[in-house]
Symmetry: C2
Subunit: 240 residues, 2 copies
């Protein structure tokens, strides 16, 4: 069985539309590539109780949960506190985190004030996720991985996290795209899908310059080549 | 009170990372602009039971729910069936939908086969959402609006839906951006936020060419100008 995962994006700015999320798609692609099944993604606002309830729901349902956002130094960064509360543990100053922050800010001649110290205060029992970009670490506790929201920092943190996860065999996948209409080939596609029961067949129409083309994505653990050939012939037949 | 909303994106292709979602951000921006509060977004796979459970959760918690994806003609389009089931109603062939589909396909000399007819089969009691791009309609039932996943079609459907919603006064918003570090100004920002209790202050660092700048977003129903001036002075003070 492949491990399952969920992503939790935390931040008012995503729900107001001011900032467009790119972390869901990035994490989805990375997890898929190492054979972990992303089953759900959620976006919630900077609302303490909502974060706690959502996290407790996701962490019991999925093998891994990845959170993005809300671990900075400002008053609206409440993710660490919410996660501590979700796990029923206290926040503590993490010695190694504090050491890293001290070194980083001394080197840059910036004060390690209370706001910056806050970034070294994490739930009791949590371990650090390295941040090679701006030092302030993420952390993980049981199956929950808490990362920054800034995409470049999140991506660097994810690189640190990925080797810790239990990988699966990446699901095989083939995509065939043709200027064909779903409504033309749907019955044929249903018949092919019924024949290859262990594979899944997704059909995704696109609009490119007002012209419709469709991608068929075949996914599964078994060999795809036979199904791929059938889909290719089918699309050829219905090409417009 | 502003109305609340949630978005539900349905589709394996988003969770595999193959297709990157752009609908959450688009809908978020539109709803914000008409004074509706988007409170949550979720992405789930083409899993019948998961769609039903998620939809029933969201539609009882929020005033409006917008779904995207899974209403096409192929076997993997199961949203209409899942929504009917969530509401405990049957699917029926909607006469007006069928008329539109018939006209559209006759004009294009395409067969109105079973797959295409499926797009006119919607939950009993649902009303149509116009699709000026490719005709096959979305639908709405109570507080749930079901739209296509293809962004251009979803956007056209949303244009049809927006006038039906109970608008609120759009929340006032001001964004100030400066090459300043959150860790420098966090204490000052906390003090300002404490002073203007009816406003919210979000702090969002960005990385542009490896250089950090931060945007402070002030939001609220009261006049923002005084708080805006204070934030401006604060950012000026900590500019680097």
């Amino acid at each position: 069985m492949r491990k399952t995962a969920a992503v939790l994006i935390i931040g008012d700015e995503i729900l107001s539309g001011k900032t467009k999320d790119v972390n869901i798609g990035y994490i989805a692609e990375k997890l898929t590539s190492i054979g972990i099944d992303m089953k759900e993604a959620r976006v919630v606002s900077d609302d303490y109780e909502h974060i706690i309830a959502t996290l407790n729901n996701l962490r019991t349902k999925f093998d891994y949960v990845f959170t993005c956002g809300g671990i900075g130094p400002t008053h609206d960064d409440i993710t660490s506190a919410a996660i501590a509360r979700a796990f029923g543990v206290d926040l503590i100053e993490h010695p190694e985190a504090m050491l890293r922050l001290t070194d980083y800010y001394i080197e840059r001649q910036l004060p390690l004030n209370e706001a910056r110290r806050k970034m070294g205060i994490i739930p009791t029992g949590a371990k650090l996720i390295d941040n090679p970009i701006s030092t302030a670490p993420g952390f993980y506790l049981e199956n929950v991985f808490t990362m920054a929201g800034v995409p470049r920092i999140m991506q660097a943190m994810l690189d640190f996290v990925l080797p810790m996860l239990q990988k699966g065999t990446p699901i095989k996948s083939a995509t065939l795209t043709e200027s064909a209409f779903e409504g033309d080939f749907a019955a044929d596609l249903t018949a092919i899908a019924a024949k290859y029961k262990t594979l899944s067949f997704g059909s995704y129409p696109h609009m490119i310059d007002g012209k419709i083309s469709t991608s068929i994505v075949i996914r599964g653990d078994d060999d795809l080549s036979e199904a791929e050939n059938e889909i290719k012939s089918m699309l050829e037949k219905y090409k417009r």
